[in-house]
């Protein structure tokens, strides 16, 4: 009973957020695209035809074709109008339906983001727990130093080093592309290392806080081994702030994806977004931003529900 009501209220809250996000993101991205300097007809022509072929004539042709000389308001209203009918329009640059482009690119990005998140947790959880069990110990200090290092080094540098180590020298994995599951490993690892740099610290803090709680000591003195105490009590309590943090991290995850997609020639949405901004592909930018926003909302819903799952106190009060 309670569980179900929690589920629906969380869902309803996020549904409201989704609509807000859709409208806000659409308008903001549209407004900002309009504010960009430069003539969008030129940019679109450049995006389409490449520098050997684009010139003023092709720009003029693009302008007429896409109706870029229409008033701004008309363009926005028509976008919102088609959005209400779940139509995202067509890309100005490639001409293909945006929904279709997003479908492929989003799939690849989700795969990369998911794998990156998984890798980050695979790294951060053991490291964070180890560090949190002995705050101030040598492992804690070492992992802090490592965190700072991985936070300060740009993702592309990590990517290049990994490519060199795993693909060029040892030939264990392919460098770039997306032809099979093995192509996912390096980009996911690159992404995961960057994410783990921060999340391992969050886990460490949560664990060290749980470790100093009185119930932790009681669990030990009532006779449970330190392992059982960790697995039955500490981790569950520590998971709460960690899961909540993952919610925030998701936003940064989406951005990390951009660089990594570029380095590893991964056909994802972040890479597409950058091109769309440069190419002044307004419908594409709006569509991408919208998709990313909604993805964030959905993932946050999952985080919410996970928190409720971990913490029975919430269900009682909700």
């Amino acid at each position: 009973m309670l569980q179900r009501s929690v589920f629906w209220s969380a869902l309803a809250g996020r549904a409201v957020q989704a609509v807000v996000v859709a409208v806000v993101v659409g308008i903001i991205s549209f407004a900002m695209m309009q504010a960009l300097p430069g003539d969008s007809a030129y940019r679109i022509a450049a995006g389409r035809y490449g520098y050997d072929m684009m010139d003023a004539a092709s720009a003029d042709q693009v302008r007429t074709e896409l109706g870029l000389d229409q008033p701004v308001v008309v363009q926005l209203v028509s976008w919102l109008g088609s959005l209400a009918q779940f139509d995202l329009g067509k890309s100005s640059v490639s001409g293909s339906p945006i929904a279709e482009e997003l479908k492929t690119q989003m799939g690849y990005s989700l795969l990369l983001a998911g794998a990156g998140l998984l890798v980050s947790l695979l790294i951060a959880i053991p490291v964070g727990i180890m560090a949190g069990l002995k705050p101030g110990g040598w492992f804690d200090r070492f992992s802090l130093a490592a965190s700072i290092f991985f936070r300060a080094i740009p993702a592309f540098a990590i990517g290049v080093v990994l490519m060199l180590g795993f693909a060029v020298h040892t030939k264990l994995l392919p460098v770039a592309g997306f032809k099979g599951p093995e192509y996912l490993v390096l980009p996911a690892l690159t992404l995961g290392l960057g994410l783990a740099a921060v999340s391992s610290r969050v886990i460490r803090d949560a664990v060290s806080e749980a470790m100093s709680a009185e119930w932790r000591l009681f669990s030990r003195t009532k006779g449970l081994s330190s392992k059982l105490t960790l697995s039955r009590h500490v981790l569950r309590n520590a998971a709460l702030p960690v899961v909540a943090y993952v919610g925030v991290q998701l936003a940064f995850l989406i951005e990390g994806v951009v660089i990594i997609e570029s380095v590893f020639a991964w056909p994802g949405i972040g890479h597409a977004l950058v091109h769309a901004i440069f190419g002044r592909d307004v419908p594409m930018v709006q569509g991408t931003a919208l998709a990313l926003g909604l993805m964030y909302v959905v993932l946050n819903l999952i985080v919410d529900l996970t928190c409720h799952g971990i913490d029975p106190r919430r269900s009682k009060t909700a």
Partner: protein
């Protein structure tokens, strides 16, 4: 949500990798920076043509000599006002449809309606007649067959386009057919066993657009791709030492040059432009940035464009003192901070360039320093390349740095006409209308007489060299990394064709 999927993938990847790396000697893998956004030949024709999915009516060999392609022969009427091309018989599109003159005409008309090379020719109409293509001109244009080698004129099947005119497939006639297409990075190809000419030696090929040069170099080294194009100088230097690949560089008719607004009040005197040219340390740029010291430009057209390159021309030099003197003659005096001033105005210019070719911002930064030496303050704006044609059109452009390909077609007249013809061109002269040059270019474009051509070409070359509406900086080198065991690969200096159908694996 991700977990089960990702775990499965990770697990799979651990087992899958050895298989994926087993030698697959019936296929060739290519990597290059260019993304393929669409099926539309106007947008992605370059890729479909290079990868031999689509073909042009006229072809060119590696020396730039025109040879029959989908047209077996072509000729112009005496007055040059009409061209007739005979369409090759027995050619089938990948979907099985036979290529007819009607289809070819339709394809060309579509291409003409979109931005592309055909626009450069004064074409009045295109029609199919008795299995031949008839092209009516508004005025004589001798380079039309050369234009028809360009990748925006590739012939695609009618089924490539849907009822609304959108390109929905890439159905060509080439030795390879599209197997899968994952825009914008991936394309995989299968051999076309019905090909009209020599069939491809390998069964399949795949293409991966990799925008980062660093990644491409690593891909070449690891063997993930057998043919890797456009290497960065650093990566190229490294690959020369890697045993498993051959790193090749070939001069191509692409030139990194500065476009100056000759109507700008600082630049309207040819001496000012000469001074700026003299301030450039081309040798340094060619050595340190592009890493081909022999390719520092001595004139606009590189030796590879043998018809347009004049060996006897006095090379452009680097002489800072002479440059300073020229500017002093023009009334410029050094101010307190070393920047020249005249009539209370500082000699300050804005250079526009773009990052798509990574060396351009570097060259711009070097120029900033070198022009600083003679007291010219250069601000650099790295943005979209579309800013250059736009700045040309609205007159706001001062200086632009870009790489111009004069070998888009075997005969560069189309390009030069656009660049130095009346009113200048988006990627050519600006505010520099030289009547002699315009006249000479017209003559070149209309004649087929070799001596008339070379005489007028010399006129154009000399005028451009003396007055410097464009200041050449370095000539381009086309860099390729080829896997050692890959046989039959030949560099195409026109960047038209990867020649995949002729490559094979051997020892």
């Amino acid at each position: 949500m991700f977990k089960p999927l990702s775990i499965a993938i990770l697990a799979a990847s651990l087992f899958a990798s050895p298989i994926a790396f087993s030698a697959d000697k019936t296929s060739v893998k290519i990597s290059a920076p260019w993304e393929i956004n669409s099926y539309d030949p106007a947008v992605s024709g370059f890729a479909f043509h290079r990868l031999q999915v689509m073909e042009t009516l006229v072809d060119a060999d590696t020396k730039g000599v025109l040879i029959p392609g989908l047209a077996t022969e072509w000729s112009a009427t005496e007055d040059g006002m009409s061209w007739t091309l005979t369409v090759r018989e027995g050619v089938k599109f990948h979907n099985g449809t036979t290529m007819t003159a009607e289809f070819v005409a339709k394809s060309l008309i579509t291409a003409l309606a979109k931005p592309g090379m055909l626009k450069k020719a004064p074409i009045k109409s295109i029609e199919a007649k008795d299995g031949k293509i008839l092209i009516q001109m508004e005025k004589p244009f001798s380079a039309l067959p050369a234009l028809l080698t360009h990748n925006t004129t590739v012939i695609s099947a009618p089924a490539s386009i849907d009822a609304e005119g959108n390109a929905v497939a890439a159905i060509g006639t080439g030795p390879f057919t599209v197997d899968t297409f994952t825009p914008p990075q991936g394309l995989s190809l299968k051999r076309n066993d019905d090909y009209w000419g020599d069939k491809a030696l390998l069964e399949s090929a795949s293409y991966l657009a990799t925008s980062r040069a660093e990644t491409r170099a690593l891909i070449a080294e690891s063997g993930d791709a057998d043919l890797v194009f456009n290497l960065d100088p650093s990566g190229f230097a490294h690959l020369k030492d890697v045993d498993s690949v051959t790193a090749m560089a070939d001069a191509i008719p692409r030139v990194v040059s500065l476009k100056l607004n000759a109507s700008h009040k600082f630049l309207d005197d040819a001496r000012a432009r000469q001074a700026l040219s003299m301030a450039i340390n081309r040798q340094g740029i060619a050595t340190a940035i592009t890493r081909f010291p022999e390719a520092s430009a001595t004139q606009l057209f590189p030796p590879v464009l043998s018809e347009w390159h004049d060996k006897d021309l006095k090379p452009l030099t680097n002489d800072v003192e002479a440059a300073k003197k020229l500017l002093a003659d023009l009334g410029w005096k050094a101010g307190d901070d070393g920047v020249l001033t005249r009539d209370g105005e500082r000699f300050k210019l804005l250079l526009r360039t773009f990052p798509d070719r990574p060396e351009l911002p570097l060259i711009a930064t070097a120029l900033q320093d070198q022009w600083g030496e003679i007291g010219v303050e250069l601000e650099v704006s790295v943005s979209s390349y579309s800013e250059i044609p736009k700045g040309h059109k609205d007159g706001s452009l001062e200086v632009a740095l870009f790489a111009r390909n004069y070998g888009l077609t075997p005969d560069p007249i189309g390009t030069t006409l656009a660049d130095f013809g009346k009113g200048g061109g988006d990627w050519g002269a600006m505010g520099w209308d030289n009547a002699t040059v315009i006249d000479a270019l017209d003559k070149i474009s209309q004649t087929s007489d070799a001596s008339v051509r070379s005489e007028n070409i010399a006129t154009v070359v000399k005028a451009v060299h003396d007055e410097l509406p464009l200041i050449p900086v370095v000539w381009y080198q086309h860099t390729v990394s080829v896997a050692k065991d890959l046989k039959g690969y030949v560099v195409d200096p026109l960047e038209r064709n990867y020649g995949l159908s002729k490559v094979s694996w051997g020892k």
